[in-house]
Subunit: 338 residues, 2 copies
DNA sequence: TTGTACGCGTTATCAT
DNA sequence: ATGATAACGCGTACAA
């Protein structure tokens, strides 16, 4: 493998001069620069980022730790992160935690060893302790989608509380009174936000909150499916379901389909996070779409800004608004409502 | 930051001994090992992978270059790669090329500088020259989903030619005779395979091939939408459309929806690659699903196996079979067929 | 403008 | 079983 020394020898200059040419640093005679550049090309010299990083103490490597790259929401976040990062020559390591704290810990460990410059993470739990290693190693960090009380870091999340409020208000406006909530795990902030928004909307609409209509599982299709089955077995059954994310909504649809029920004729369904291509496939679903791409890009930019800053920046919080997408006015409410 | 020397000094041993403890190498007295380990824990020592990689000449870093992380097919591939890699302590850098050769070249360059151990790539074109740098730098490589004639590397792809054949045979069995193909760019091998499968199925079914029914764009929704509109304007219009991938199919659905046409009543639609959650949303679509997760995991394993091998392995090719998923027998053929 | 000397943190090699 | 030395490839600090 060709090294900077080989190039230097061949060009008849010192290694540092080659270094200056590579990094487009000032202080190199134009003629010298041209000659060195030519040798670089001729020899197919490829600078070694590893050595450079070791020396400069920055890897230009970010990590994105999320719960499920299969979910279009996270996919879009990842794209936002990746685009923003590559604009500034950063690379992104992708890590799937699967909501598993053990996996999360293992990854975190390895990433710190690798000296990534920063980590964008959607923590599996709101446990402050789990992120302590980041502080110890002084690795920059941005929380995405999920807040962790007491953890000093930049935070980027969608205002899903507001999204929840508007979705439920929409249902109330359509005449629904028995609106169920199928939520994710209470240990992460968006679940709390969404339940709060749900409660606020009911109260604002003059409706009582029926705690038995609030179910909690995780943010996956299976969970949505199982909890929906529980709801559908009730007598009378709710006339509308608010699914706390897109995968839960898909699970609900699966349960409805099995029960021979249709949306919106038999039951209304709304959720947080868009279901991509839903409009092309079956445009019934009203959703509060979070600006996933923006969330990712914003997180990456905050992180890189922090890395570039000379002094320590104060932790910043960015809350992005959701977009309500009403694909079809949910039509008449089903029969179980008087 | 604590270094291996700091630990060594504190534990009263040489750095190399600490190294042996970290790497669980043989040749360290149990008592010494325990003492060193204790110091490591006390001092919160985090080994520096950068330095390790520089010295050992391996980064335990893979890269995955694909065209669109937004497509569920690629998402699933990515997950397979990531899972297989992390099993062996490798990290994965994710790169979106957007089918843009310039982006691809830029990424490739940066990845080589970073000394990634290997690259899994779905090349934007079948241009051998574009991958020459990989050879020069002797960086291991696995082609995924797309072959490049003359490029000596492991290849993993789905047998989408067979998938195409079976899908079209299915349509013929249902009585269709005017079956259109909306394909991706001819410059990449899966597009060629799918057209070949399409032609083979028609011929085997005793039907003539009408070249005007074969349209080619790219593998994105917009392309599928536009080409579908062209097809629908024809008189008589085809009774079935074979979309060469899932995003094209979604574009077709969009066009159909705008035209007030329904699947399968007015027109049949089949495609390569699954549309996730389609079954829960509207189970009409017959697809030939490629084993995306397996493809990713296989590619990663081939790559890591090659890295671990002492000697040079011959290039290997793995072709994985598609799975035909018939979500609902496509029902009676529309009226435009006699 | 260009160059010399050294260090970043680790491991390979060889020695004890 | 343990250690001394050098080297991986580059950039900083300082010198010329």
């Amino acid at each position: 493998m060709v090294t900077i020394r080989d190039v230097a020898r061949q060009a008849g200059v010192a290694p540092i001069t080659v270094s200056r040419v590579i990094n487009q640093a000032a202080g190199v005679n134009a003629a010298t620069r041209a000659r060195v550049q030519q040798v670089i090309d001729e020899m197919n010299y490829v600078p070694n980022t590893l050595a450079k990083s070791l020396r400069s103490r920055q890897s230009r490597l970010l990590a994105l730790m999320l719960s499920d790259i299969t979910n279009p929401f996270w996919t879009t976040v990842a794209r936002g992160v990746e685009d923003a990062a590559s604009e500034q020559g950063f690379h992104v390591i992708l890590c799937n935690t699967d909501e598993d704290p053990a996996k999360e810990a293992t990854y975190l460990n390895l990433l710190l060893q690798r000296r990534v410059d920063g980590i964008i993470i959607a923590p599996t739990t709101n446990d402050l302790q789990r992120l302590a290693a980041l502080k110890r190693q002084q690795t920059a960090c941005v929380l995405i989608d999920r807040r962790v009380a007491g953890f000093k870091a930049d935070v980027v999340y969608g205002d899903s509380g507001e999204g929840a409020r508007r979705l439920v208000a929409h249902l109330i406006e359509l005449g629904h009174r028995a609106i169920a909530l199928i939520n994710g795990p209470a240990t992460i902030s968006p679940a709390g936000d969404r339940e709060a928004g749900y409660r606020a909307a009911l109260t604002a609409g003059g409706l009582p909150v029926d705690d038995t209509l609030i179910l909690s599982g995780d943010f996956k299709q299976t969970s949505g499916y199982q909890l929906a089955r529980q709801l559908l077995a009730r007598e009378p059954r709710p006339t509308a379901i608010f699914a706390a994310n897109n995968f839960i909504a898909v699970g609900v649809l699966q349960a409805l389909s099995e029960a021979g029920l249709r949306v919106p004729d038999d039951l209304s369904l709304v959720c947080i996070d868009d279901v991509p291509h839903a409009s092309a496939i079956d445009p019934f679903l009203t959703v509060a779409a979070q600006p996933a791409y923006e969330m990712g890009a914003t997180a990456a930019r905050l992180l890189m800004e922090r890395l570039a800053a000379q002094r320590n920046l104060r932790p910043r919080t960015v809350v992005l608004p959701p977009e309500l997408i009403i694909r079809r006015s949910s039509g008449p409410v089903g029969q179980s409502i008087a």
